[in-house]
């Protein structure tokens, strides 16, 4: 579960609000119940207290304390009713005190005497004893025989037990309820967001190579439907503009070819007929060299536009990548050695991939051309093909000047040069690596580049393997170069 997702955050807020509401309602309920129960108890105590008051009022002044006690026992029966009764004559003469209650809900002897102040005012209040709290209603009265304080009490324990039961019930239910509600909320938000997820999943699948796919439009009539429709319109406009630019690229490189043929032909004829001065022919030659570069540029652009159009798949066969690399390197060895760079194909195992052999060869040539160009004399360019997990790996690494980190994301861009002056001198058009990328993406091959300035670069290509896997070791090509070429600097 993503902690920052919309569904998660909504559920958390929902749960917090719900808990707060429940807590408030629970607290209100407990308080109200307590008030209600206490009022009830108070009322019943006062009613009894009136009975005791009547006994005292109607007793003649000479009535003994035991007679009063008997009258109270008879009329009120405090022990049987689990009540506490105490009658005190002012200032502090105990007239009567009831015995221990039948249910032992409190200890009558432990109820402390009331302070002086209570003689002035009738009140109902809880009194703490050593054996639990007792609710006591105290009523002061004036009779002919003097001032009395009537106290009637009952244990608070049943009310407290009820409160405790309710509290524990609430405490148990609250987390369960909140958890259920939060989970429900999460699922609800999640399912509400599912169409959005589906849309983003489809949008992920749409690449520049395939702009035909559209987002599913569910006719819900809400914001999501409108979003899908507007995104689809945007995709259509994007496709149109990509197609226009591709068509322009293809048309432009096409149209340039005929005039190039004429320019080249006429100039070559001038040079070949050997009329005119040597200097003139030299200059024409120089122009012809530029024409050759233009020619290469145009054909590179045409290759790119054709790869963009996605017509590379038609000539796919099983290609032995190891063998292809070995043969290609054989043809480039002298060019590398001429620049004082060693080509080192290591661990060249045969590896079967599906693809267009000519295009894959172009990838190997371009990667090596690039590596050789940017590796100083005495450097090494290594090639490795191997099978790793479910991928065929082709790795070209060099000990060259490397690529600065800020240039790394752009090396596959068309016409991009890390060091413009340097590579233009080498005749590079800035298309080599973008052709590599186009061919790779047409083959479903992922490219990883790693480079340390001053230490060298490494291009790693991950080919998806066909079901066949690797060839048996017997089919491996020779790893040693077949052609023996003298080392640089000492050609015989």
């Amino acid at each position: 579960m993503n902690h920052r997702s919309l569904a998660f955050r909504l559920s958390v807020w929902y749960a917090l609000l719900l808990s707060a509401t429940f807590a408030l309602v629970g607290a209100g309920m407990l308080y109200g119940l307590e008030q209600y129960l206490r009022a009830n108890v108070g009322d019943s105590l006062r009613r009894r207290s009136v009975q005791v008051e009547q006994i005292l009022q109607h007793s003649p002044a000479a009535t003994t304390e035991s007679a009063i006690g008997e009258a109270i026992e008879t009329r009120v029966a405090p022990e049987f009713n689990n009540r506490f009764v105490r009658v005190t004559r002012a200032p502090a003469t105990l007239v009567f005190r009831s015995g221990e209650p039948a249910d032992r809900s409190f200890v009558a002897a432990a109820v402390p005497p009331q302070p002086e102040a209570v003689f002035s005012k009738a009140q109902v209040r809880p009194v703490a004893t050593a054996y639990g709290r007792v609710m006591i209603s105290s009523t002061p009265i004036d009779t002919a025989s003097g001032k009395y304080l009537i106290e009637l009490g009952t244990a608070l324990e049943p009310i407290e037990a009820l409160q405790y039961r309710l509290l524990s019930l609430l405490g148990l239910m609250l987390p369960v309820l909140v958890a259920c509600a939060a989970a429900g909320g999460y699922l609800l938000v999640h399912s509400a967001l599912r169409p959005v997820e589906r849309m983003s999943h489809t949008a992920e699948q749409i690449s520049v190579q395939d702009l035909e796919a559209r987002l599913p439009v569910v006719p819900t009539g809400d914001a999501l439907q409108r979003l899908a429709i507007s995104l689809n319109h945007m995709l259509t406009r994007l496709r149109d503009s990509v197609q226009t630019s591709r068509r322009f690229l293809a048309d432009a490189s096409h149209e340039l070819r005929t005039p190039l043929t004429v320019i080249k032909g006429e100039l070559q004829e001038l040079v070949a007929t050997e009329v005119g001065r040597v200097e003139v022919r030299e200059r024409i030659g120089s122009v012809l060299e530029e024409v050759a570069r233009l020619e290469y540029l145009v054909s590179g652009l045409l290759v790119l536009s054709r790869l963009d159009a996605g017509d590379a798949r038609r000539t796919w066969v099983d290609v032995n990548l190891g063998e292809l690399a070995a043969n290609t390197l054989e043809q480039m060895r002298l060019v590398a050695e001429d620049r004082g760079v060693q080509l080192q194909p290591t661990a060249l195992s045969s590896l079967l991939v599906r693809g267009d052999s000519g295009r894959l060869k172009q990838v190997i040539v371009n990667l090596h051309d690039n590596a050789i160009k940017f590796t100083p004399r005495g450097g090494v360019v290594r090639l490795r093909t191997q099978q790793r997990d479910d991928y065929g790996i082709l790795e070209v690494s060099d000990s060259g000047i490397g690529i600065p980190a800020d240039a790394l994301p752009h090396v596959f861009d068309r016409f991009y040069r890390v060091d413009a002056a340097r590579s233009r001198e080498d005749g590079g058009a800035g298309l080599g690596l973008s052709i590599v990328r186009s061919i790779c993406s047409a083959h479903g091959v992922a490219i990883e580049v790693d480079s340390t300035p001053g230490r060298g670069s490494c291009f790693l290509l991950k080919f998806p393997l066909p079901a066949l896997g690797s060839l048996p070791p017997a089919a491996r090509p020779a790893e040693a170069p077949a052609e023996q070429i003298p080392p640089t600097g000492a050609p015989s």
Partner: protein
Amino acid sequence: MRLLIVEDDRKLADFVARGLRAERFAVDIAGDGLEGQRHLDAYQYDLLILDLMLPRSSGGELLRRVRRKQATLPVLVLTACDATEDKVRHFEAGADDYLTKPFDFAELLVRVRALLRRSPVERADVLRIADLELNRLTQQVCRGTLRIDLTAKEYGVLEYLMSSAGRVFSRSMILEHVWDQSFEGLTNIVDVYVRYLRRKIDDPFPLKLIHTVRGVGYCMRADDQAQDPGHG
């Protein structure tokens, strides 16, 4: 020998025609497919050079009609599309050979001659220029009495250059003949090999045989009067 060029780009057609006329061919030019069809109906041609992208009646259509009527007329197709699948498609439609723009005239001439089967290209087993001798059967190369060891690619380049002494071979022709298109434009691979070849064949000897024609390519000939400055 009478040739018909069907090409809508007038300048290109003129340039090709001029070059072919200099090689003593009779050349007619048609600017579009319908005109081409009229020429083909009216005259007997030995070879058709056909551009595939034509106004009014496309080149492909003309090609199919030619194949229905004159099955044996050799057809050299010129086009700006160099995709393999296009080539396959047009070979299937009846093209005998295929040349992608921008091409070298020398290359066009080689193809035309090959199609007309009157190629002056040396087919002998032993090729000779001055005291340089190349034996195609044993793949041995000697200069005077000295045997020269060449690598496979160096041999390929030398054999190609010697196959027509005095003719200028462009880099792309050499590249396509000895390597393949993958190496086009990227590296100075041809120059490197020619340089190594020179070290073995020319440097130890006073008479230089390999000549650079700047901007075009290389040629081999025995006369040493026109010293080319590219040779170093």
